[in-house]
Every structure is written in structure tokens, then in C-alpha cells.
Subunit: 97 residues, 2 copies
């Protein structure tokens, strides 16, 4: 399995409702991008104060699946429309697991 992990910090003033709306939008992607095997996104639970705000973990059969997702027009459009306007920090890793 090949896993993609990305953590985001949002700009000041981004509400929980906005984040829940982004999560709901992202959760439509497995219906469009068929290389996705598992897709779990969500807002930080607030247990540790230094945390980032939001996580996306996506699983694929292999690195090629991840690259197809990364470059898929539906994914790029969602990033451009919903994430880029409000993100201040992004950290990512992809790994075989």
C-alpha cells in the first residue's frame, strides 16, 4: 500500500463550518478518482495545543495511484478552489506501507 499524508494549518478566522464544508467536498473525491483505496479527512480533535488544523490521509495500491490522484483535474480544482485560498502551512509525506 502507498499512503499520502498531508496536514494543513489554516489562516486566522477560518471557522469550523468552513472546515467541515471542505471535508465534505474532499470526501466526494473517491467517487471521482478511482485509484483511491481509502480516504479519511478531518479536523484536528483539539487534544494537543500545538497541532495543525486538518488532516488528509489517502491510500493507494502504489505510487502510481498517488501520482494519478495528485495530478487528477478534480483534485487540482478542489485544491485551487477550497484549500489554496485559506492555507498558511502545508506538510506532506508519501510512503510505502
Amino acid at each position: 500500500m502507498f499512503r499520502h499524508v498531508v496536514l494543513f494549518t489554516w489562516a486566522d478566522g477560518v471557522t469550523e463550518e468552513q472546515q467541515q464544508a471542505i471535508a465534505a467536498e474532499l470526501r466526494t473525491l473517491p467517487g471521482t478518482i478511482d485509484v483511491i483505496r481509502d480516504y479519511r479527512v478531518g479536523l484536528d480533535a483539539g487534544l494537543n495545543p500545538a497541532n495543525r488544523d486538518f488532516a488528509v490521509v489517502a491510500d493507494f495500491d502504489d505510487a502510481g495511484g498517488y501520482v494519478a490522484y495528485r495530478d487528477h483535474p478534480a483534485h487540482r480544482a478542489m485544491v485551487d478552489q477550497h484549500i489554496t485560498p485559506i492555507v498558511t502551512q502545508r506538510s506532506a509525506v508519501q510512503y510505502e506501507c
Copy 2:
């Protein structure tokens, strides 16, 4: 399910062998900490140049399981011995998923 995600950047000079040794140590934790349901760690695959170096994704039944892992002496000892000495950046999120 409750998921814990953490991404690390290591200090300059940390080798792939050191990282593989840390990964192997971490992978012993599910044998010791019985609240862990799934545990996948690994080195960044190098597909995207701005990435962090290393990921840990751990799944639990609920937030209580995560807290038990976070505070477990075997986990704390591993962090103190293998991670704290070489980490320069740490980003984390825990989320219900």
C-alpha cells in the same frame, strides 16, 4: 476510528539507515501497546521535493486509545531515545474518521 498523524523533519545528516532503524523500533510498539489498531510508519518516498522526511499514522478505537498510546511509557521512552535527539520539525493532527 480515531487517527493520529505525525510528520517529522530530521536534522541534517540523518541517514536513511538511521531512519529505517527508527521505523523498525517504532513498529515494535503495537506489540507492547494493545490499544493500537493499525500502525504504519515510513520514510518519505521522495516524489515531492518540499516534503517532510518521515510519517507515523496510528489508528485507535477512540480518542482514549490515542491518549493511552501518547502517554504510554514505552512510547515516551522511544520518543525520548530515538526521535527527540534528531527532530527539527514536528507536525501532528488527531482526528475522528
